[in-house]
Symmetry: C2
């Protein structure tokens, strides 16, 4: 049995590698929570909901620290009661397994399981 996606390492994409296609990422996407979707076969997008601005800001900090630790940085949209995330691997212009690993770790933080 393979380890949970969130426990996989976050690794940079090989230089010149192709982004994942839908057939290749479908299994990873199945492992993510309902916040996530793949948009235009190009990036992952999520919206996480919170009770207020302060909770959304706290979550922004937690995933910001994760991004710094793994050196894999999403775009984060913080507003009242909501944090939006967009993420892809800029080096390869699309999705890499590591994007899904990062997404799974954000789910874990959101669920309070980290």
């Amino acid at each position: 049995m393979s380890p949970p996606l969130a426990d996989e390492p976050v690794e940079p994409a090989d230089e010149g590698a192709d982004p994942l296609t839908d057939g290749e990422y479908a299994e990873y996407l199945d492992d993510l929570g309902p916040a996530w979707e793949v948009v235009e076969d190009h990036h992952l997008e999520a919206t996480y909901e919170f009770d207020d601005f302060a909770e959304a800001l706290a979550f922004t900090n937690e995933i910001g620290e994760l991004a710094e630790a793994e050196w894999h940085h999403p775009d984060i949209h913080l507003s009242w009661g909501e944090v939006g995330v967009e993420m892809w691997s800029h080096d390869i212009g699309g999705l890499h397994e590591s994007d899904f690993v990062m997404a799974a770790r954000m789910d874990r933080i959101y669920d309070g399981d980290d």
Copy 2:
């Protein structure tokens, strides 16, 4: 001589008040730094630039704390080396003097003068 815009109080808009028109807000906008513009006579938008993700995250926290303290919450878009801000007074569906005061305080934080 009036005090700097950033030293004005942030106050909720009066119920039923009309949003500021361009003739009314022009003077406030003149007091803001180059990051800011008014979009569609409806909201303020800024892009602040930073050296990396960590600095952008730190700024996000500073303006997030300001937003909580004044109970006036912008939308914040955090990405590598950049923080975007969108702000208006939701109660009146447009711009209020307080939006400009908040913007001036963010400029002050960005300039390290807070």
